[in-house]
């Protein structure tokens, strides 16, 4: 089911939406810096930055999340869970790569043996309105990792920017709940044709040449490769790439407490931090950047694929764009492949 939504109606569309749902969308914090946040006013929504620094992962798995609170008292129940979120949610304006990433994280959080109730609650109650990428960046390589700038999988509604309007496609039951929306107009053949053009143009722009297929097998043979001795050298060991990555999902649980009350909080953690793997004895099994960089890449391209059948990378390019020293994950992937030889040989030597 396809509709047209005029841009002049967009703010009112959001306003309507916010009466029923809590709306999460990209917000610009300062020029060039965007994150996904709960929207208070429709005009805050800013869809101009293709890949906001923080990904849509944060809507389901926030950087810092209170799991429960407790207070010592005689008459009350001492523990109050923060599991329930209240109203239904809409995630709007995330790109196909971020949506794909949510399903990668979901496989870890909602599994056969274990279900993370905090993640599940948010997933169940969220309707996803994805925005297609008409202008992928040169750092985008979603087409290499199984995605694409117009990939609809996982979306409940799918939006395409047509200039003066959006074409909105309703894809699931959650999406069909919008079929009677007062701002949706019938989409004509002109719009459908334009979509096709945009899709073809965008597909040509994303890099589909990064050799991701079979990488887990190649890495199996590289555990002790001299490659790791060199590739980590320029990494300064900050957590930027892991925190901005839409698929990284490690966390650390701490109690933040005063005398009588406190809360249990989980915060994102990064395998690039030395204390991530530091043991109580003082021993650190990943003592240098070599082991930590290897862990980051092996988790994405070896351990995760072995467990879940696909790489834990969606080609969004955030780790390339925002790395302070330009560590480029594409080069690392290329290195594992024999195809690296043409013009790329020697980069890590």
């Amino acid at each position: 089911m396809k509709f047209k939504l005029d841009k002049k109606d967009f703010e009112n569309f959001l306003k309507d939406l916010m009466e029923t749902y809590d709306l999460f969308a990209p917000v610009q914090l300062t020029e060039g810096v965007s994150v996904f946040k709960k929207i208070d006013k429709p005009e805050e929504v800013n869809l101009t930055q293709l890949v906001p620094q923080k990904s849509a992962k944060e809507v389901f798995f926030p950087q810092s999340e209170t799991m429960f609170r407790y207070e010592m008292s005689e008459n009350q129940s001492p523990i109050v869970s923060e599991q329930k979120i209240g109203r239904e949610r809409v995630l709007l304006g995330a790109r196909p790569c971020d949506i794909e990433a949510i399903f990668i994280v979901e496989k870890v959080f909602i599994g056969e043996d274990y279900t993370d109730v905090y993640f599940l609650e948010k997933r169940k109650k969220t309707t996803i309105i994805t925005l297609a990428c008409n202008h992928p960046l040169t750092t985008c390589f979603c087409s290499s990792t199984g995605g694409g700038p117009f990939r609809k999988d996982g979306s409940d509604l799918f939006m395409i920017d047509l200039g003066e309007s959006y074409l909105v496609e309703l894809l699931t039951e959650k999406g069909l709940a919008f079929s009677k929306n007062r701002f949706f107009k019938e989409a004509g053949s002109k719009e459908i044709r334009l979509v096709k053009e945009l899709e073809e143009k965008a597909a040509k722009k994303t890099d589909s040449s990064i050799p991701v297929e079979g990488i887990e097998k190649r890495l199996d043979l590289m555990v002790e490769s001299p490659f790791w001795d060199r590739i980590h050298e320029k990494c300064i060991g900050c957590g930027t790439c892991t925190f901005l990555c839409p698929t990284c999902h490690c966390f650390d649980i701490t109690d933040e407490a005063t005398n009588q009350k406190g809360e249990r909080v989980r915060n994102w953690d990064s395998c690039l931090f030395p204390i991530y793997s530091l043991e109580t004895s003082g021993h650190n099994p990943r003592p240098t950047g070599r082991e930590r960089t290897r862990q980051r890449l092996m988790h994405k391209f070896n351990y995760y694929p072995k467990n879940f059948g696909r790489v834990a990378c969606v080609g969004c390019g955030r780790c390339i764009l925002y790395c302070p020293v330009q560590f480029d994950v594409r080069e690392a992937i290329l290195y594992t492949s024999s195809r690296r030889t043409e013009g790329r040989k020697g980069k890590f030597k």
Binding site: V33, Q53, S64, L137, R230, Y322, Q326
Partner: protein, 314 residues
Amino acid sequence: MIQQKLREKAKELLSSKTVDLIIGYGSWTLPLRTTPVFIRAPEGVESLVWNSFCENNLTTYLHKFSRLKVGVVVKGCDARSVTALGLEKRFPNHRPLLIGIPCQRMVDRKKVKKAVKGEILQAVEQGELLLVKGEDFNVTLKREDFLYSVCQVCTHRTPLHADVLIGDPVEESPLVDLHPDVKALEGKSPEERWEFFQKEISRCIRCYACREACPMCYCSECFVDSSRPRWIEKSLSPSDLAFYHIVRAYHQTGRCTGCGACERACPMDIRLTHLTQKLNQEVKGLYGFETGIQPETLPPLSTFNPEDEQEFIK
């Protein structure tokens, strides 16, 4: 040409085994950027580049390679970091060999990005001009208008105490104690300044890129990572964010060279140097001290002198 001379010198240093490793800048995949390169073989020097995009302070890597004889490419600010680190006895084995290049001041890639609409596909320097290309634009910008704010107030562009100097010393700019933006903030009320600070740090994601990019942040255990005692929580509460940033700045007092590596590394564009620049000015005013200039003078907060200002003792 500086780049060619740099390659020749690097080759000579490696061939003669004067150094085991050269840390310099190489070109890489994104426009307006360079990337740190680590060269061990003389034939590797061809990857060295020099241009206005050599923004990283490479001396932060010296901690990682303390067992090797390292030659490092330094700008004026980076050279000061090495002098400051030497005073803190960070080079017990081999003092690094400084390959100094008088700095033309670096181009702020974020400022350039803001000046155009759309993705930048290519950026080329041509003298004092920057030719910037994208899919739908092709503009010529004046390099001078797009310099990093810390570079605009730099007064030590020619590296001091360099072992090798490539290129001629440049005429240093006249002294400006604070960048106009910092000066403007200084003139505001304490409430307004606190509001500015809170707003900036509210974007912090605690990735610690600022800490890791800084050559002066080398503690084997940073106070934020200590679990016994636990000085700070790990969440994003305003008080924890403020605590981290204030302590980081205080730990830099009298040690910061003002290179701006922290701010350039920040993925969230937090204007970190507003705080450090002001602290540097205070230290200069109170003690006449500038970090990394005199290789024998200890930083004022690392030493005691009976003639020090004592006004704070009542």
